[in-house]
């Protein structure tokens, strides 16, 4: 099973204000998809992530995709299959852009 690591060269920052805003939106049942709660910067490429993307990013600390999904299921109310597909696609995109690496 492939373990996922953040690329240590990526510079990143979580935006406290926006994170609180996104959490409040979720608590009130609103959509928080368009609220960027973190910024990632690598080799001149900048990415902004919403709250789900940020949580996935923070879990890229040597866990497998399955472990990340299991952890997220404790925080977000979503169907496991749907979440698993979203997480896999998102991680593949991060890997293509060089923000994460798949290891053993």
């Amino acid at each position: 099973m492939r373990r996922i690591q953040r690329n240590p060269d990526v510079l990143w920052r979580e935006e406290d204000e926006q994170r609180d805003q996104a959490r409040n939106a979720l608590e009130q049942g609103d959509d928080a998809e368009d609220i960027a709660t973190s910024l990632l910067f690598n080799n001149g490429v900048m990415l902004s992530l919403n709250i789900l993307g940020t949580e996935i990013w923070k879990l890229c600390d040597g866990r497998t995709t399955e472990e990340i999904v299991a952890e997220l299921l404790t925080c977000f109310e979503v169907e496991e299959d749907e979440l698993s597909a979203d997480v896999t696609a998102f991680l593949n995109e991060l890997a293509t852009k060089g923000f994460i690496r798949y290891g053993e």
């Binding site: 510079l11 990143w12 920052r13 935006e15 204000e17 368009d34 960027a36 910024l39 910067f41 080799n43 001149g44 900048m46 902004s48 992530l49 919403n50």
Partner: protein, 300 residues
């Protein structure tokens, strides 16, 4: 997802030289910077020798998540200074040159730098040297230098503003087309220079980022939205960066910069160019809301 408006910048450009008549309180400025948690600090120290100030700033920033990149002249680099910079956690080193002749010194030290930091060249483009750019690119390719930055002009000083006229842009594009520099990592802030190097790739960045993703600190501690836009937002002798970021001056500045110059009208390039360099418009046209003089439309 677009970056939108940020409460705190991602990058701070802090110029230490030319040395000011009255030095600011460097330690205090370091605290201000750390408090707003940017991702990158770009230090510029092009004095005749690397100043002690530069080392003490690195000392203070060591151990923080902030990535510090230093731009300095090749003459300032020795085996001892490289060791010291490495031990102080420097993340990147850019060797400054403004002519092909100055690049010669870089050949000599490239091997010493080897592997310790990300290293590249910062070539300051001006009216007298833009035609040397293809030679600079060739130099990088021939010497295994993988990163070339064309730094933003420091227009808060007395540097004359540089514009690449449309005809010059076409000439440069033609000269560059003979080279394969796809492996070279280019950092170009000027949308018109960008086009000369990347005629088919849209300019990234989503419009003028002055006072949004970046802030600039001049050697005397004055804070500007960008090194190229000399409209002061405050001074770190009397304010903190946090105060400046929350100030009406900064908020109004962003409001102004988000509005595109009226003269851009229905320009087909608008989606990527987003109104050109607003600092250059301010310096050469007297208003940051005017058309960038590098734009063909400003001539027509």
């Amino acid at each position: 997802m677009s970056l939108g408006e940020l409460a705190r910048p991602l990058t701070i450009y802090w110029d230490l030289t030319p040395l000011p008549a009255i030095s600011p309180d460097y330690t205090r400025i370091c605290h201000h910077i750390a408090a707003i948690k940017p991702l990158q600090l770009h230090l510029l120290d092009c004095g005749p020798a690397l100043d002690q100030t530069c080392f003490s700033i690195l000392e203070q920033m060591r151990g923080t998540p902030l990535a510090v990149v230093l731009t300095t002249v090749p003459n300032n680099i020795s085996e001892a200074s490289l060791d010291r910079l490495h031990n102080l956690g420097l993340r990147g080193l850019l060797l400054y040159a403004a002519s092909c002749a100055e690049l010669a010194g870089i050949t000599a030290i490239r091997d010493d730098v080897g592997g310790r930091f990300a290293t590249g060249i910062a070539f300051q483009v001006n009216h007298g040297n833009w035609q040397e750019l293809p030679r600079v690119v060739t130099f990088c390719l021939e010497h295994g230098i993988s990163s070339l930055t064309l730094p933003m002009q420091r227009l808060y000083g007395d540097e004359p503003a540089f514009t690449l006229a449309a005809q010059e842009q076409a000439t440069l594009t033609e000269l560059l087309a003979r080279l394969d520099y796809s492996a070279l990592r280019l950092t170009i802030h000027d949308p018109f220079l960008w086009r000369a190097f990347n005629p088919t790739t849209p300019f990234p960045g989503g419009g003028c980022q002055a006072a949004n993703t970046m802030l600039a600190i001049s050697p005397d501690g004055t804070v500007y939205p960008c090194p190229t836009l000399p409209l002061a937002l405050g001074n770190l002798h009397t304010s903190t960066l946090t105060e400046i970021l929350a100030s009406a001056a900064k908020i109004d500045m962003r409001k102004m910069l988000r509005e595109l110059p009226e003269a851009c009208g229905d320009c087909a390039e608008l989606h990527q160019c987003r109104g050109g360099c607003r600092g250059r418009s301010y310096v050469l046209q007297g208003s940051a809301c005017s058309l960038d003089p590098a734009c063909e439309r400003s001539v027509n």
